[in-house]
Amino acid sequence: MLEKILSSCKLSSVSKIIEHAPIQFNRRLLYTTPVHYKKQAGRYRVTHRGDFPLTYEMANPPHQIAHRKSWNSWNTSNIVGGVRPAETAVEDVFIRKFMSGTWHNLFVSEIIIKRQYNIIRIAGIIQRTVNPRKLYFLIGYTEELLSFWLQCPIKLELQTVAERKDVIYKYI
């Protein structure tokens, strides 16, 4: 910023600015708030070759939430009178990590977590690279283990697609 000002001013006028605002230049400010990448978060950069696949959700930037796409976590923790906002957020992160690790390379969509009363429903789209029998094993395992961990009923709501290509909305 300062450089810009300096370059735009004539050299003779620099001293004038310094005279007028001596305090500004003598004090060094430390900005401690995390940077808010408002223009970058949740957006994908166009690649050179234009071959980066995006799902429909990825293709829509955050400001399209509630317009063209929806939330990934559904709960009432953050409305007035909601309970356990911090715990809910941490648990959701845990669930997402657990799901992507246990269902390795199977999810081709975001993992949607919906909470109603004490029930947590985990939804998503998976690809059919694994035998349905194994998928049923994973369903049983995930539902049971997560309910032991979070101590509430967990349900999976899965849909399958033949391959990853089926959920690609566009390439950029």
Binding site: N118, R128, P132, R133, K134, L135, Y136, F137, L138, I139, G140, Y141, T142, E143, E144, L145, S147, F148, W149, L150, Q151, C152, L156, L158, Q159, T160
Partner: protein, 658 residues
Amino acid sequence: MMNIPVFLKSPRNVKQANYLSSLLYRKLSHSADVEEKIEIPKRIPRGPTDILRALESTITRDPTAAHYKYHDDPYLIPKSNVGKRTFAMAQEAGRKAAHWIRREHADLFNHREADPVIQAFLPRVVYNEDSEVTENDLKQTIEDVQVADAVIVYKALKSKGVKVSKETEQSLLDLLCYFNSEDTLSEEFIEERWFMQSSRSKERHRKIWKDGNLAEEIFISIENPTAEAYSTIIQGMTKHFQVTRAWELYEEAQNKGLVLSTNTYNSLIRVVNFLKEQYDMRWVLIVNLLTDMNKLGLKPNLATLNAILQALSTMGGGNAAKDNALKTLREFKKLGIEPSLGSYYFLLVTFCKERGPKSTILYDIMAHIENKEHKIRDLSDTNFFVTAMDVCRNHLNDVEMAKRVDRLLHIGNNYDLIGDSYKESIYYRHYFILLVTYVPLDEFMNQTYDKLVPNIYVPEPGVMLELLTQVELNAAVEYIPKLWSDMTVFDHTTRENLLELISNIMVNNPPADSELRERFSYIAWDMYNKIESQNENRYNKITLTGEMLGKIMTLLLKNDDFSKACAVMEKLDKGHSSIVGIPKFETLSLFVDKCIENKAPSQAIRCIQYCADSGFPEVNSLAVRLDEKLTLDEELLGSLTKAVGNFRLDNKSSANVE
């Protein structure tokens, strides 16, 4: 009021008329209110789940969807019996894996997330010989039906010399006797229970009581056992068919003058056929036991009735058993004990013997139980529906009755009484075979088959055979494509008899429209490929016979799939020494005709060669036809002559004869 119709004539006045009528209505209803007294209904106390139950009662089973235990996704919906079983069991196996992890890392799962704490989510307490236990732990394990844990806790208590109270000892004895001192499958694993029982029923009626187990030890260690302890141990022994010891203990208790419980008598009556060999002796023993009960002032209950009827059902097909069964029923009716479905099940077993006179008792039974909702009251209740359907099919051959039984099964929650997966499939097997034999095929296909298959019931190969036989009898070839695709999905295409039957039907009933012909040709080719691509190491592989190949070829040729037919012909020709049987001459003749049509003389000559090798006397006529229709060059003519000899000469000579 009279004016209203006049108002209504012009549309402009409609609004006015409405206003007026509403006024009138208000006035009328108001005057009615004055006369009527508002009665506020009494509050009905509701349970916490009553609303859910009310909602649930509005939903019936949707036959177009898979059972709700499966995921609603085309890839994850099972389509065959094997699929249904493996998917459900795989899910349960996954749940068990989670249980295993929780058990192995119990220290990690001790956090308390839920408020109030839900015990089911927390890891189980692990006991061993040295753990610090109190009587309360023992009570808790008994409460939770953890048989093995209860045994460990009990032993730990004994080794520490802790005195266990009489009541706890008795309830432990109850637990051990009921479960034969073995851990039982947790009630959580419903799928395993649903699919398991079929295998368990086979080992029925065999002594499974473990002699000298902890239950017996505890019983012996009790000084002066009470009547209660005697009752428990006798019931445990009879339940697991240690009959002789049970009877000894019964006599011991008699001598001591102890009054045993009604259920003990019931259990003894149930095993009376192990105690006495002859039928009349068995009945005498039952009567004696009942007289004893009467003397002691014990009131019989439903289990007594069912025990007597069960014992009678094992006493052959004589009239004595039947008479006694009816007498018993009458007697218990007088006592005000309503028979359960299990009682009727035993009646059916007694009356409808395989090699006995026909009995119409099911009609009388249905009069009592029809259009009612039944709850389980006895373990044997789950046998009723499958047996009733068996009787309908094998004993009565009565479709109407079968439909009535089926209607009863679908009233309220009666479907809970179907038992397990094995009983369910037997029930539907009987129902299907009966319907397919006696109901017009169209009606059966539209109303039953399309509705129940595949989500509720997947027909076994035997049922499919019956269905195909009916299709053959009715010449209803329009169902063949559908049935073939079902057979493919249900994994029936490895059954030789089914393949033979379906190909017979297709060959013997040549369809008129070209679409069906095309489908048939597709099926035939599919069949051929399926058999050809069988795994080499399969246990009972299907071997292609000459007849089968001939039928496949006919079907292909009818649809002008000449190249595919050539492939089949080649297979026949190459495997001439290994393939059993030969196709019909008509097929080969048809093939030659199609060769002529397609101008493929070399294929035709190969076929004629094959005919000659197979020893068909009519082979000359084929050669002649080929020669007439197509102009053959020298080389081809030479090979044709090589195959059948000098056919031109024969032809001329035969012409001369004519």
